[in-house]
Amino acid sequence: MLEIADLEVAFETRMGHVKVVSDFSLSVARGECVGIVGESGAGKTQALLAVMGLLPRGARVSGSARLQGEELLGRGAGALDEFRGARIAMIFQDPLTALTPHMRVGDQIAEVLVRHRRLSWSAGRERALELLRAVHIADAERRLRQYPHELSGGMRQRVMIAMALACEPDVLIADEPTTALDVTVQAQILALLAELKRTRGMSLVLVTHDLGVIAGLADRVAVMYAGRLVEQGTARAVLKAPRHPYTRALLDSMPRLDVPSSEPLRAIRGQPPDPRALPAGCAFHPRCDLAADLCRSARPRLRPTGDGMVACHRPLGAAAGEEGPTS
């Protein structure tokens, strides 16, 4: 469905050329959910904005991103607009920035349909009502006539999802869609995305820094660090038997309910690197407990492992093939 290959994103800044995404390749099958995890600054959002053609002018993008064989990168704004919204749509962490403040939410959804599907305004509004119901907004008729600021954060996120669904896209990209929400509302939105994926056969790319969010939805997981993929595989393989020390460390740093509260959280020391000054060799080496001399000089390539990929000189559970160490 969506094939991203050798994607690279760089910015020209006063401090020179800064690469924020390198060698990024990922494929998403029909009806599949791929989760992309990593800390802030890992390049998750930049990679997907590049695919959507939404990066600012100063950005330099190379590589390829094909939607059912058709290239998305390097299109003029007009041609891309046909795709955007119609066949591939994106939702963001903060719906307020993506919604128009002075327009009723019903009209915003209808407008998408008027523009992309040439519906009349009245047909567009009717469809908007159906869409609000599809994302389980209670009292949809009333909400239709409200402005974004009159809605709660969770409700706005539902409106944004309704808008993204308007043209029945083949692929929905969700960038930290629940990060700003309460756990309860987060669970509701994730349940909604799971339902939409199941009932509409939609492909889903879910970006998050929370492995718990990924675990409920993703069929496959890709882990990014410092602009590169460091691990990829089925959700079960990556979350239950991670091969990359960074993935392991991310899992360990999560507060868990099933260990005694007297046990310290295992934080990852240091912080994600500045893309302007990446460490030599493996970018994770200053924070990695397994780092050896080789790690400080040579960058590990992404290599196949069983049914996934890992970029590490000393992957966990190396000898065991399919079976990595279980926690």
Partner: protein, 326 residues
């Protein structure tokens, strides 16, 4: 009772909401914090967590009720005593960068409480204290001469903690101190707070909407909903046996990074969102979302029941619901 560091008694905060209407941001909160103890306050957005913090810090005036600090009501304290209470009562905010003055160096920021409350220290002694504190919270030695914007979110939070802890306060209030941070950095900050609390004997009032985070730091937990207390008690007891339907719902909503478990957790999520505090439901305020609500819940405000193990709950049905029926 007398050795309580902080007591909150019958606290109500009402905000005018125009056209004669009012928002009951807090409606009857009673709690007590002993020296060195950590209390977590959890609940969804708008449940009154920040209002509680602001009322304790005297940043909003309660409509009724009092905040008692070391046996004295804060709103009746003479200016001099209030000053010394302020010194012992410090806060760390949610947004690390926004809470630091961008024109001051990190050294100046961390030294400021010393300048105000410890006039006995000379510049050299102050500098020494600041450097020790910066090292203690894990910042590099050259941090003192730099400005906040040169630091990441996690590091800014360390700066905020250094500023709050430099006077070794008796109580540190944290309002969502890690919710803006990445998971890996969250864990660092939680562990730092955990260690500082133990070393300095500082009590902690830790506000969060993340129950998994609270569990590591707090011996006791308070669950708020729409400005009311739902459940209170020892953290381990509440996690092992949550009695209030709302507490259960909050715990069940925490995402677990296990693909064999998490999809099923998503299939029974708490529906809806908190109703408007302008017109709270009659009876039990949680009843519009509660899976166990019955007719009596709409008629009767649940009374606050306590037991000998220090647990408290406001639910008319908690005994019949039984453990974890879901």
């Amino acid at each position: 009772m007398t050795n309580a560091l902080l007591r909150v008694v019958g606290l109500r905060v009402r905000f005018a909401a125009g056209r004669g209407a009012s928002v009951h941001a807090l409606d009857g909160v009673d709690l007590e914090l002993r020296e060195g103890e950590a209390l977590g306050v959890v609940g969804e957005s708008g449940c009154g967590k920040s209002t509680l913090v602001r009322a304790i810090l005297q940043l909003v005036r309660p409509t009724s009720g009092t905040v008692v600090w070391l046996g004295r009501a804060l709103d009746e304290m003479p200016a001099r005593e209030l000053r010394s209470a302020r010194r012992d009562l410090q806060i760390v905010f949610q947004d690390p960068l926004a809470s630091l003055d961008p024109r001051m160096t990190v050294g100046e920021i961390v030294a400021e409480p010393l300048r105000i409350h410890r006039p006995d220290l000379n510049a050299e002694a102050r500098r020494r204290e600041v450097h020790q504190m910066l090292a203690r919270v894990g910042l590099p030695p050259d941090a003192a001469a730099r400005y906040p914007h040169q630091f990441s979110g996690g590091q800014c939070q360390r700066i905020g903690i250094a500023r709050a802890m430099i006077l070794r306060p008796k109580l540190l209030v944290c309002d969502e101190p890690v919710s803006a941070l990445d998971v890996s950095v969250q864990a660092q900050i939680i562990e730092l707070l955990h260690d500082l609390k133990r070393e300095c004997g500082t009590a902690l009032l830790f506000v969060s909407h993340n129950l998994a985070v609270v569990r590591r730091l707090c011996e006791r937990l308070l669950v708020l909903y729409l400005g009311r207390m739902m459940e209170l008690g020892p953290t381990d007891a509440i996690y092992a046996d949550p009695r209030h339907p709302y507490t259960r719902a909050l715990l069940e909503a925490i995402p677990v990074p296990d693909p064999d478990v998490q999809p099923a957790r998503l299939s029974h999520v708490l529906p809806g969102e908190p109703p408007s505090p302008l017109s709270p439901p009659s009876g039990c305020v949680f009843r519009t979302r509660c899976p166990h609500a019955v007719e009596v819940c709409a008629r009767q405000v649940p009374s606050w029941e306590t037991d000998s193990a220090g647990r408290g709950i406001a639910c008319v049905r908690w005994r019949e619901i039984g453990p974890e029926s879901a």
